[in-house]
Amino acid sequence: MGSFIANTDRQQQEMLTAAGYDNFEDLFAHIPDVVKLGRELEIDRGLSEMEVCRKIESLSEKNIVFRHIFRGAGAYDHYIPSIVKEVVSKEEFVTAYTPYQAEVSQGNLQSIFEYQTMMCELTGMDVSNASVYDGATAAAESVFMCKDRKRKSVVISGAVNPAVIDVIRTYCSGRETDINVVPAKNGLTDADAVCAALNSATACLIVQQPNFFGNIEDADRFCRAAHEAGAKFVMSVDPIAMAVLKTPGEYGADIAVGEGQSLGMPLGFGGPYLGFMTTTQKMMRQLPGRIVGQTEDSEGNVCYVLTLQAREQHIRREKASSNICSNEALCALTATVYLSAMGPEGLRQAAELSVNKAHYLQKELEKAGFAPAYPDAEFFKEFVTESPVPPERLMAELEKHGILGGLPLEDGKILWCATEKNTREDIDDLVTLAGEVIC
């Protein structure tokens, strides 16, 4: 049986005696027998560390690890620098608690301060929080930032990731919120329909950039329309794309959120990921979650501390705007190290490589018989094609060669993705195989 209890039987007995108890039963004697389990748990016996490793390894071997990934849809296979993995494995960072005691947490606090700074740089906004669970919950929390007594409805572009829309619906299902999802048109946000949907009861408009189909939106019009209706403009953005595309700050958005997994976190079958939330100076106090601020100690040394805590649940309780307690601290640290390692040029390179590879893939697939679904839209690193064969058949064939193809969509189309990790050779191989399936 595995155990992490240091005290030996003898030491345990010594402590029992010192505390005035005869045995362990004594310690639990005050608990009514009727609620006690009174039997052994019906689970397997414990194991040694070596056996644990064997068992978990054999579980992991039942998964298929694809050597070549061409699927995105919100979770991306970007290159993770080795220094990132090294830094985020440091025991201090891994095992530390939330930095409520500033004097012994300066490293942790400063790293969050650096993270907040970098997220502001990426999105062009003024203020960032210390992160939330993921991009989808970040979008949901942004709705609560915008709602007030007179504005309770939300307009969401149908070109936003359906999983994000699902989470927003679930989050809003408790409190009176009218959610209006305006169906996408030709792979883009339907500008006319969205503008028509905005009114004096709209709290915010949410648009994704690049959108779920990979296409780049012209957000100018939406920002203006939202503001004209007195609503806030929320953009959910791909952080890698922010190295080259016009930022939410430049568009004049009120809130920029998104999924930070691309910034150094592994795919990990869905988590842990990273939800970033940034906003304007004006809306700073509406941000949920932890925030780190710079201050001085009594000797005038620059130092960092959790601040604006009176917004949070542990102080406001039922008057808090969000119940969130944690941030994804270690994931935020991961993003900080990733962005330091990439630097402005490296991030631009990752973005440009992804764009170039995706466009090459699209052209080659088109030649092989996979017509683009939205030929008039410009895309970033993902794009949608028609499929001349049932997508499942294509995927099965690709799987035999260790390739995870694009995501089959409900209407028989396929959402493809390419990043800096896909070489020309990999892409050519994929396209050849795809062509063979058609024949």
Binding site: R285, A310, R316
Partner: protein, 130 residues
């Protein structure tokens, strides 16, 4: 303990300054600001909002706590003091100058105390604490 003669006081430590029967300004007392400690932020309502006696119309934040401010009147907010939102420290340094809101259309008020009665009340509160 500073307790200006010309003001009226509520049991939850707000001061009220009547301009006439239907209009008044409201803030918190010296005792209140001392109990609350260093204030870092204040959340104010909007002009046009209606409140009744006893309702929470604002709150003040210190580093580790939030305190509700209760309404001593029934009426409509005519003006809010944006300055204290930018400089919450002024509530600590000048509690009777740092008004929170102005009311109009006042129809009701709780049983407000005069300065002498409030002074006595504060003494009793302090004694309770010890």
């Amino acid at each position: 303990m500073n307790i200006p003669e010309e003001l009226l006081y509520s049991r939850s430590h707000e001061w009220v300054k009547f301009a006439d029967d239907e209009t008044a300004s409201v803030g918190i007392t010296d005792y209140a600001q001392e109990e609350l400690g260093d204030l870092v932020f204040v959340n104010l309502p909007e002009a046009g909002d209606d409140f009744a006696v006893g309702e929470v119309f604002a709150d003040v934040e210190s580093v580790k706590a939030v305190s509700d401010i209760n309404c001593p009147l029934t009426g409509t907010i005519s003006e809010v003091n944006e300055a204290i939102m930018d400089e919450p420290e002024s509530i600590n340094s000048d509690p009777y100058g740092a008004w929170f809101v102005k009311f109009e259309g006042i129809s009701e008020q709780e049983n407000l105390m005069d300065a002498a009665a409030y002074e006595k009340y504060v003494e009793e509160e302090k004694a309770k604490e010890e």
